[in-house]
Symmetry: C2
Subunit: 192 residues, 2 copies
Amino acid sequence: MSRWDPDAQGRLRAAAMELFSERGYDDVTVAEIAERAGLKKRSFFRHYTDKREVLFTGSVDFQRAVVDEVRRAPESARPVEAVTTALAIGGAALVKWGEPVRQRQQLIASSLELRERELIKMDALTTAVADALRTRGVDDVSATLTARAGIAAFTTAFDRWAGQSEQEDFPTLMDDAIEQLRVALCGCDTDS
Amino acid sequence: MSRWDPDAQGRLRAAAMELFSERGYDDVTVAEIAERAGLKKRSFFRHYTDKREVLFTGSVDFQRAVVDEVRRAPESARPVEAVTTALAIGGAALVKWGEPVRQRQQLIASSLELRERELIKMDALTTAVADALRTRGVDDVSATLTARAGIAAFTTAFDRWAGQSEQEDFPTLMDDAIEQLRVALCGCDTDS
DNA sequence: CACGTGATGACACTCAGTGTCGCTACGCGT
DNA sequence: ACGCGTAGCGACACTGAGTGTCATCACGTG
């Protein structure tokens, strides 16, 4: 196609995953990642704003998909239902990638720096979901709290999925989490 | 007392708050903070592991206080009540410091780096609270979810407090948040 | 008075991240 | 076929965070 090998971003991402898995996140330099991808350190930063970001390429699409799903929810749906199903759908799509996603999650768990980045991505997602709820007419505080509750259930479900080898259905894990959250908060599992 | 001026940590913290407020977090170097505190850059890192940490000195004590309060809760208390009151008490103590805490919160909100650090501190608090619940015999997933719900309410209440000038009672804000969370999740405000 | 100790300074170093300039195939128009 | 703009990259120099190591020097203790 062009005079350079194609898909520099993808090569950098693959090289980073390999090296991080081999020697751990902290013991790998950006120069090494770039070299394995056939590039120089300076070019790494032309494709990714920093060293952590190479592991979070999909986060923008994921957030957009979830937010779209919240908007797509029928007007009759209660806010918490809209958020829950949106996250269940998004999570199910994520989980389809299988083992690589588990590896990535394990890698993130091994590094404080990466966990910080993961947390701020989830925070951005929370804010975006809350905004989508406000668009649906939900009041400010309620939107924030519903989004936070949904993300809490999502994270719990996702951690459970990543932590076990058996392929369990993600929406089921998500429903379990929401139900347990209802029981813990209200002492009842009454739904609409 | 000693041959050096006392309370180097406190001087560094004060210097950092001053400089960050004057010019913003990103435009201040560690060397400048150290210099204003009458020290050198190398000594800054003997008191704080990194540049962000200088703004999070109290987080260890805060976490310990909240966890202690969860343990102190009567056996009759439901997990969510134990967590809620523990966070309400801890938050009320925080809020007593008044304007400096608001300034610090505003500073954190202005920097992605600082927000990342704040989020991982809250995550550590969440984990610690969940562990305290497990000690009380709460099962694994339920402990995690209850802790996450409590922290969600706490953060919402704290943000509301920090965002307005009128001194509103923190436990009241916390109760409001929990109630709205119950309504959003269960569609009812039924309590035990 | 000698001796250990603890907080600091001095120095050199690694690595993440940025600014800037120059290079060179590629596409495009004439 | 020729000139031209441009996108992607290398080279180079630089700042700033964070670390390892050694020297220093007042203090307390015996």
